[in-house]
Symmetry: C2
Subunit: 417 residues, 2 copies
């Protein structure tokens, strides 16, 4: 079948492509064809519209991904797609349709890939070097492909799960920050209450004159300070604490759950497809073994029956081979889908995290602004006291007091005889 | 005797004064003489040193009193004397030595003075107009000569007592101000304690990267604020409260008591002298009555015995007159002494009050200075937080987190058949 395909290729390469089809060249230099509508890809050059849909094989993820994902992506929306070609896959060097020949050859198939938790990766050193999707950006979409093993080694956490947990922790952090601010508010209110109470004290209320006025204002200034701190605590509440509490409400957790389930479902599908592949591989192996056995039997003893059996076995083997190809195709499609969703969703989580940090930064700066304001307003409560203290005048106070309290101005004189 | 004295005057006016004597003119135009050493004053022009000491009569308080009393007068020290002549007394229009003649004249003696609580004052409108000792200064020494009557009218409070009470109240005021400051200190310590405790909170401690650093600094800044307020409260204690408590310690009350007793003693002496005057006046009246009776007896019936009796009665009358003069002199001396002490001491109290007001003013300004400082130091605790918030960098935080938490960079590839 190899030769058949190859001949077809040479024969059809010069014909124009049917509508909807585009040709691409893989890094290997091999040409493959993509149907823009159905998104199917194939090695085989389509000859007419009637040939579509081809067997979807070795699907390349040439669908594109967002470059700068910060362009208005919101929770739940997909990132916009632009034309950044991914160089994700190493190409299956076997053109589509190739089946292990039913020859009695020991195939020296080098292991170039490995499947872990139903996800298929190239082995180290095998295949073309992978470039980062977003170099120098430490983007989520580049670093969370593998599942993280438990120290015990029994269970594992998906990389995506790590990203999700990060977002949930972020929500916890903002809640704790709000709590901290709340505690500060309580402290301020207590301070204000104490100052206000003390300002009403009648201590030294009997001091009169300019000194008495200055003292009265000094006591009053404590009430002014209390007002300043109360204002601070009120603004802390409305401009820092409350926003921290309400930023990304309950819906946020729901949205995160949606992401979680969506990606988890795709992994489940992948696992199911992988199971099918394993099953089909085994079935093929069985059939090939059977064919081998029967071929050996023929070599021992020619017989029509055995020849019939061999034909049957060969047909079954071919079918099993086709089944395997289909299973592998389906697997690869599903993996590609998961891949796409991983990139899109992790970019959204990345954006959420940037937004979260910037939002918190902004509101903590509001906190420091309020602190500055408070200290400034507080300074001004002392000024009237300063002014009155400056104008304290012992002479004037004496005049006031003497006018009020004098007993008599007539001085004594000598007594007459 | 009148004529004798008058002739003596005319005779001696031209002679030079003996050493130590100076002549002055009273507002009445009458000349009197003062011995600079013994401080005695007399109407009679001294003719020789041997004539000193004269009978101390109608003592003028020409001793001088401090003008500006703020020149370093301390508790217990006397005010410095400068040369300010007092125009205290109305002059006794009778030259010293004049006695009511033993004639049968109804003397038309106009009441020009009145004695209240043993202190002698001119009646309203009588005598030369009194000028204030310290005009335009509302000085204590001008306004507290009379005793203040109780509303009920039974007891009275000496003017000096009012001045003394003012000083004691001042001591009470400073104590109450110290108490107020103490309460403020407690409020500040509570506030500092609360801030410090909150700064140790582990809320949102899991926030990492540049945002985590900014948050950590924000929490720490509360401890810095606590330090500022603690420093404030410590300085309030050492620079305001403690001085207010210790300014004019227990010795002050003792000194005030000394003043109190000193002046009260002089009043007691004056009362005693006054009693003597009253007694002498009565004795003289009795003697004059007796002389009158005997003279009448002679007019009825001449007799040697009656003439003898009249001579005796006349002698006794003269003696009683002399006694009265001496008593009045002693009274006037004592009153003058009291007068002097009143002026001196009330000036000292005045100075104490000026010092008190200025001292308190100074320390309350220390309070406002500390408040200013505190607000400024407080402002600076926010600056490191501001700086770190400015440098919050979501990209850097992502890099840090991804490096720490990534699961795997190798991207999945298509499975081979």
């Amino acid at each position: 079948m190899d030769s058949t395909l190859t001949n077809s290729r040479e024969a059809t390469e010069s014909r124009p492509l049917p509508p909807g089809w585009t040709s691409y060249t893989s890094p290997d230099g091999l040409t493959y064809y993509v149907n823009g509508c159905s998104k199917e890809t194939t090695w085989r050059r389509p000859s007419s519209p009637a040939e579509a849909p081809q067997r979807p094989l070795a699907r390349h993820n040439s669908s594109t991904y967002a470059t700068g994902c910060h362009s208005g992506a919101k929770t739940g929306q997909r990132a916009e797609t632009t034309t950044v070609a991914l160089r994700k896959l190493t190409i299956n060097k076997r053109p589509p349709g190739a089946v292990s020949p039913a020859k009695r050859q020991i195939k020296e198939v080098k292991e170039t890939k490995t499947t872990i938790n139903c996800v298929t990766f190239p082995l180290p050193g095998e295949g073309p070097e992978q470039q980062l999707l977003k170099p120098n950006e430490w983007s989520y979409c580049d670093y969370f492909w593998t599942d993280r093993k438990d120290p015990q080694g029994t269970t594992s956490v998906a990389g995506f799960e790590v990203l999700l947990q990060k977002q949930l922790k972020g929500k916890q952090m903002q809640k704790e920050m709000a709590e901290f601010v709340h505690e500060r508010i309580k402290i301020e209110e207590e301070y204000a209450k104490n100052l206000s109470k003390l300002s009403l004290s009648t201590l030294a209320a009997q001091e009169e004159g300019t000194l008495g006025e200055a003292w009265t204002q000094l006591k009053k200034s404590l009430h002014d300070e209390a007002e300043v701190h109360l204002k601070f605590s009120n603004k802390l509440h409305s401009e820092v604490e409350k926003p921290l509490l309400t930023f990304r409400g309950d819906n946020f957790k729901k949205d995160l759950k949606k992401y979680d389930h969506h990606i988890a479902d795709l992994r489940k599908q992948l696992a199911s497809r992988y199971a099918s592949v394993e099953k089909a591989r085994k079935a093929l192996a069985d059939r090939q073994k059977d064919l081998e056995v029967k071929t050996q039997q023929l070599e021992i003893k020619l017989s029509n029956k055995t020849e019939e059996d061999i034909k049957k076995a060969r047909r079954k083997s071919t079918q099993a081979g086709d089944d395997l190809m289909r299973c592998v195709d389906l697997y690869n499609q599903t993996q590609s889908k998961w891949f796409e969703e991983m990139v899109t969703t992790s970019m959204e989580l990345e954006k959420l995290e940037v937004d979260r940090i910037e939002w918190i930064q902004q509101h903590l700066r509001q906190y420091t602004t309020l602190r500055h304001e408070t200290d400034m307003f507080n300074q001004s409560t002392v000024e009237p006291v300063d002014q009155l203290l400056q104008t304290v005048d012992p002479g004037k106070d004496r005049e006031l007091w003497v006018k009020e309290n004098k007993t008599g101005e007539v001085r004594p004189v000598d007594m007459d005889i």
